[in-house]
């Protein structure tokens, strides 16, 4: 059998989002592969230059749809770094809670989502339904389910009320109680073991050379997490662990995501306890209405640990009321482009969606 050219995506059920991999296969084995991003390219970096510092908060959550809050936090922290702005302590804690909630939501979807490419359809049903409880918190907190537009320059947009705090406590208990079900259904499943164990191995050297971050790197046995290495917000004031594994295969990557959920729950509980009370959760970056608030000249790079790895915003200001340039480092940029070209040849067609799912290739953040 000769080589057959296949367009894997963009409208392919195994594809995560709107992305495409063009490849030559022989039988079921991939011979050559090239990523084809750009189906979600909207020109964010250009559009952000055309909007005010403050009105950009409507735009940035859209860069990464499954976990929008990291964009808001990154952007806000970048601007605050340039402006040397002191954010109210309570707002910082709220931000941390929001970021960890978003991480849980994303991981629930990713852990359930692994059922998609391998055919365990019960898992995504559960995962997405449980994630919806977190979206309910977001809705109560920020007024929207997906695009929260909640973390703004100088703090957060509205205060965390006791009612919402209560809701978070309850939801955390609920999600914790659901975790054994996932463990039984997914991670003890023999067939899942046989599908994922030892597949798509990435060694530590390969991962570091490629620039992979997040669970892809931690599955190779190093504890590289931006929250620990370069702590932001109050991550140095809470107690949590970064789970790691040594296999570097698809299974351990998914399992690490699963194991991060209890850690995030732990962080949220600590944050709710340690958070100071107060009404002020927002300070303006400079005097004036949002149309004319200016950020002093300067540039800064801020990165945070998203559910998929190091996510960064590079912000340049020329001292006006609009950003001069904003560049985004999508967490899945290396594995989504270089990784596909380099590491997919030699694997099988079935492994392509597994790569996309376990390495969390997120099309919108690559395309922007």
């Amino acid at each position: 059998m000769g080589e057959v050219k296949l367009f894997f995506g963009p409208n392919h059920p195994g594809m995560h989002g709107n992305f495409s991999v063009h490849m030559y296969v022989e039988g079921d084995v991939v011979k050559r592969a090239r990523p084809l991003p750009g189906f979600l390219h909207r020109g964010f970096e250009k559009l952000m230059e055309r909007r005010y510092w403050y009105s950009n908060i409507a735009l940035i959550p859209r860069i990464c749809v499954p976990e929008p809050d990291i964009n808001e936090a990154c952007y806000a922290m970048g601007v605050e770094k340039i402006a040397k702005l002191e954010v109210p302590e309570r707002a910082q804690w709220i931000r941390m809670i929001v970021l960890e909630l978003a991480r849980i939501a994303n991981h629930l979807m990713a852990v359930g989502g692994i059922g998609g490419p391998i055919g365990l359809y019960t898992a995504p049903q559960w995962g997405t339904a449980d994630r919806d409880r977190i979206l309910d918190i977001f809705e109560a907190l920020s007024g929207a389910r997906v695009y929260h537009m909640y973390i703004v320059i100088g703090g957060v947009r509205k205060n965390l009320t006791p009612r919402i705090e209560d809701m978070i406590w309850k939801t955390m208990d609920y999600i914790e109680s659901r975790l054994p079900d996932y463990e039984n259904l997914i991670f003890k499943n023999r067939i899942l073991h046989s599908r994922l164990k030892g597949r798509l191995i990435l060694t530590r050297e390969q991962a570091l050379e490629m620039g992979v971050t997040g669970v892809g790197l931690r599955a190779t046995g190093v504890e590289y997490d931006v929250r620990k290495v370069d702590p932001y917000l109050f991550y140095d004031k809470v107690d949590f662990e970064v789970p790691t594994a040594t296999d570097g295969d698809a299974f351990s990557r998914v399992y690490l995501k699963f194991k991060e959920i209890p850690q995030s729950i732990k962080i949220i509980r600590q944050a709710l306890e340690k958070m100071p009370q107060g009404d002020k959760v927002n300070v303006p970056v400079s005097k004036g209405s949002a149309l004319r608030r200016i950020v002093p000249k300067g540039m800064a790079y801020v990165h945070i640990e998203s559910a998929r790895g190091e996510y960064g915003f590079f912000v340049v200001s020329d001292g006006k009321n609009k950003p001069y340039r904003v560049a985004v480092r999508g967490a899945s940029y290396p594995q989504g482009l270089y990784g596909i070209e380099k590491y997919l040849p030699g694997t099988r067609i079935e492994d392509v969606p597994i790569w996309l799912a376990t390495m969390d290739v997120c099309a919108p953040e690559i395309d922007r």
């Binding site: 909007r51 005010y52 403050y54 009105s55 950009n56 908060i57 409507a58 735009l59 019960t122 339904a129 309910d136 809705e139 109560a140 907190l141 920020s142 007024g143 929207a144 695009y147 537009m149 703090g155 957060v156 947009r157 509205k158 205060n159 079900d181 463990e183 039984n184 259904l185 991670f187 003890k188 499943n189 023999r190 073991h193 046995g221 504890e223 662990e241 970064v242 789970p243 790691t244 594994a245 040594t246 299974f251 351990s252 399992y255 690490l256 194991k259 009404d279 002020k280 959760v281 927002n282 303006p284 400079s286 005097k287 004036g288 209405s289 949002a290 149309l291 004319r292 200016i294 009321n321």
Partner: protein, 614 residues
């Protein structure tokens, strides 16, 4: 370090999921069985309270999606601080970020919890929000019944409601001399204050002169003062004066001021003038009009006269101003106290107007040094702006005493004295000022300063008919500053008589005023005759209003002119019933400088039209 134990394989573990066969599903049965209400902060479709909305258009400026356009609504009136336009929202653009709600200057724009709107017709997605909200197709709620969702609070508000504090002299310091109180903004402060402006332009409509306020504020914000100066001189040649003593009606209509403190428009204007050197004016403004070879005579060099002179000369006319006093400027020179408007400021404005070729003949009182007919003959058109120079009296017993003075002559005297042009005015130990307007404040505070300089203490009693500070016609900050300086206020008292013993003023007696205006809003005070007080004083100054002096006008002209309550009636171009005679300033509109400037501008246009037709 947390190395994870990987879970072991277990054949039967997945089968545990079968337990959910017997459990209730988590499905929420929308939309048929359950209507799911959104959270109480939900960002749904907009509503807009038209009675609150002022049409400022700030929502459309902040909108990151360009979804909001302001559309003029026929039938809405253009009122003080209101524009007859309302936002139209395009749900083919809106991203439901609620920034429009957060920045809304009045709080009229809000969001409901309605979130379903499904239609096959794209036309259904554009909408002008009203109090009832979107008529959502297949929505959760009946039209107009959707509960409120996202509401602005202190944290989400992105409008800056607090003014940048203007640096001022402390009361203890300033009362000792006539130095200027307001120090003026620094560059940072001015830019910060300019950043508060939302550029709605409501102030432009309110300003009698329709100055390009948002434009020059934006120039300050951008740091381009030359552009700002050009904007100023487009409409107002007396910016230096207006930047200090304008009654700033614009600020009362400022959209930021609906919920907070208005933008300090006056001080921003002053900031531009203070910070552009006079030598640069000519280069920046670059006024090189073509000469038209016609001339215009202007009587009175007050705000209206100077303004008309400026605009006429930019149009290319030869302009001559006739001024009775020794220095040009009228009320700006002789009425307003020095601590509010130093001479240097006025000189700068006048010098620029003179530099344009305007001739100012001082000490030329029309009717004495030169006849009105002569002026009329010499020029193609004449503009009169002689102002209200005569003081009014309460006419209670004792007002004919020499120590019962009129405010305006006193103010003139003080300024002349401070300038070194005249003798020192008499300074009483105890003073009563009657009146509640700005002139009363000026004289009270001037005398307070003189008293401090003379005796080291202030003893000024200011009495007015109006029963509260709010009712008093004087500016609130004037009253506050006067209080700080030690002036004692007695609002709500009307004079009965000036008590004179041994030909000396001993004080005055007052009775309680019950109301100032009657039901028809006419001036018709009522008093409680039994409630009286006596205040000791060496001198009484009356500051209850001024009156015009038309004696210089020949009799036959006066007969032709129409007068309404002492003011000359003109058309919109300030043309009087005599077609070559134009009038402006207090004798037409009153009562402040900016109206005078506006009159000058309108008259200049009118004269230009009249002369080009001729």
């Amino acid at each position: 370090m947390a190395m994870q134990e990987l879970p072991k394989k277990d054949f039967f573990a997945p089968l545990k999921a079968w337990k959910f066969l017997g459990k209730r599903p988590v499905t929420i049965e929308v939309p048929n069985k359950v209507k799911r209400e959104a959270s109480d902060r939900y960002r749904g479709f907009h509503i807009n309270d038209w009675s609150k909305c002022i049409g400022c258009g700030t929502c459309s400026k902040i909108c990151p999606t360009d979804a909001i356009t302001m559309v003029e609504v026929p039938g809405l009136v253009r009122d003080h601080g209101k524009l007859p336009q309302r936002p139209v929202i395009d749900y083919g653009r809106c991203s439901f970020c609620a920034l429009c709600v957060d920045i809304c200057t009045t709080g009229s724009l809000q969001m409901t919890r309605e979130y379903i709107h499904v239609s096959d017709d794209a036309e259904d997605y554009v909408y002008m929000p009203t109090e009832k909200g979107l008529n959502a197709k297949r929505g959760l709620y009946e039209h107009g019944k959707a509960p409120l969702g996202w509401i602005k609070d202190e944290n989400s508000d992105i409008l800056d409601l607090v003014r940048v504090k203007m640096p001022m002299e402390e009361p203890e310091v300033r009362v000792k001399s006539f130095i200027e109180i307001v120090k003026g903004y620094s560059k940072e402060q001015a830019q910060q204050e300019a950043a508060r402006c939302v550029g709605c332009g409501i102030c432009t409509y309110t300003c009698p002169e329709h100055m390009d306020i948002p434009q020059y504020i934006e120039s300050i914000y951008k740091g381009d003062l030359e552009e700002g100066l050009r904007w100023l001189y487009r409409t107002n040649p007396l910016s230096m004066v207006c930047g200090r003593v304008c009654t700033h009606r614009c600020e009362s209509s400022c959209s930021v001021g609906v919920r907070g403190e208005p933008v300090a428009i006056r001080w921003l204007k002053r900031y531009i003038i203070d910070n552009v050197p006079f030598e640069e004016y000519d280069r920046i403004l670059n006024i090189r009009p073509e000469k038209k070879g016609k001339s215009v005579g202007i009587i009175g060099s007050g705000p209206a006269g100077l303004s008309a002179a400026y605009f006429l000369s930019t149009m290319g006319y030869d302009v001559t101003i006739y001024e009775a006093n020794a220095r040009p400027g009228g009320v700006m020179r002789y009425g307003i106290p020095r601590y509010r408007l130093p001479d240097e400021a006025l000189d700068k404005d006048i010098a620029f107007i003179e530099a344009l070729g305007v001739k100012i003949l001082v000490n030329t009182k029309v009717g004495q040094e030169i006849g009105f007919d002569e002026i009329a003959k010499k020029h193609d058109a004449v503009f009169i702006s002689t102002g209200f120079g005569l003081g009014r009296s309460t006419r209670v017993p004792g007002t004919d005493h020499p120590n019962v003075k009129q405010a305006l002559p006193m103010l003139k005297m003080i300024r002349d004295y401070l300038r070194g042009d005249g003798p020192k005015p008499p300074v009483p130990r105890k003073l009563i000022v009657i009146g509640g307007g700005n002139v009363a404040m000026d004289i009270s505070r001037s005398m307070a300063r003189l008293q401090t300089m003379e005796y080291g203490e202030v003893n000024v009693h200011t009495l007015s008919l109006e029963r509260s500070f709010e009712e008093m016609p004087a500016d609130m900050d004037e009253i506050e500053e006067a209080l700080e300086e030690g002036v004692e206020f007695h609002p709500g008292w009307g004079p009965i008589e000036i008590v004179i013993e041994d030909d000396e003023v001993k004080g005055a007696r007052f009775k309680k005023c019950l109301r100032v205006f009657d039901e028809n809003h006419r001036f018709n005070p009522q008093f409680d005759e039994n409630n009286q007080i006596f205040i000791e004083a060496d001198m009484v100054i009356e500051a209850i209003g001024q009156a015009p002096d038309y004696s210089y006008l020949p009799q036959e002209l006066q007969e032709k002119l129409e007068f309404v309550r002492g003011r000359i009636k003109t058309n919109e171009y300030n043309q009087t019933a005599i077609e070559w005679l134009f009038a402006g300033g207090d004798i037409v509109h009153g009562p402040d400088i900016i109206h005078g400037v506006a009159d000058g501008y309108a008259a200049a246009k009118g004269i230009d039209m009249y002369l080009s037709k001729k």
